[in-house]
Amino acid sequence: MSAAVRAGWRIGAAAAALRGRAGRPLSQAAGEGGGAESGGGGSGSREAVERLVREHPVVVFMKGSPAQPLCGFSNAVVQILRLHGVEDYRAHDVLQDPDLRQGIKNYSNWPTIPQVYLNGEFVGGCDILLQMHQNGDLVEELKKLGIRSALLDAEKDQEKK
């Protein structure tokens, strides 16, 4: 089976199980033929990426998933968000979709994964998120999105003691 060969070549059986017909990523199979006409229309196109970064206040492009990150830098992003109590966000595994993996780099003009978007705007990768976490900027940025960081509640608990 060509799909099985491709699965073995790419990422593994788990990824193959998530793909639609002919081994193409589900997001690509669903996206073609609909929506605005402009170059490509695949899962890595500007239009497709734009839709993804806008679909939630917090969107992360990473390797693996929040439940199982496959890269230390991606895991760092997941852990930082978790510290702030941000568990509801959109995470996209670029290892499942090479078109998206390249498309997100083109979109942000940023060469690496993970990438963090707040309110549709590219904020940076793991290094930047870590520094924002350490200097208090992340709490502020989350507040602008109407998200109250869990760290603020942790501080309040401290004050009560």
Binding site: G12, K63, G64, F73, N75, P111, T112, C126, I128, Q131
Partner: protein
């Protein structure tokens, strides 16, 4: 020693582009499953007056711009710490790199 050829290239390009007052270039490849000297994952600590007044995103973009060819080629991952000389003086420490979780081993290596 001075490191492998990519390490030397990274050092030279960052020096030329950003005139750093302090520069550390670290080959993290062995920590990501590569053999010693693989030169695929690097971390750079750049202290430069060029970063003054720039938000983190713009600082990192300057570093990426200097290493555009390498990032399009053999440089698979790049950790960046970008500080002004004042920031570095008041806190001369860099956070440790996150541990590898084997991601590179789970994908076909780019040719």
């Amino acid at each position: 020693g001075a490191g492998g050829p990519l390490a030397r290239t990274i050092r030279a390009k960052l020096t030329a582009a950003l005139q750093p007052t302090h520069l550390e270039v670290r080959d993290d490849s062995p920590r990501h499953g590569g053999p010693p000297g693989a030169e695929t994952h690097f971390g750079v600590l750049v202290v430069s007056g060029r970063f003054a007044g720039l938000p983190l995103l713009q600082r990192h973009r300057l570093v990426h711009e200097a290493l555009r060819a390498e990032l399009a080629g053999p440089l698979h991952a790049l950790q960046v710490i970008a500080r002004t000389p004042q920031q570095w003086q008041s806190d001369p420490r860099a956070p440790p790199a996150p541990p590898c979780l084997g991601g590179s081993k789970r994908e076909r290596r780019r040719g």
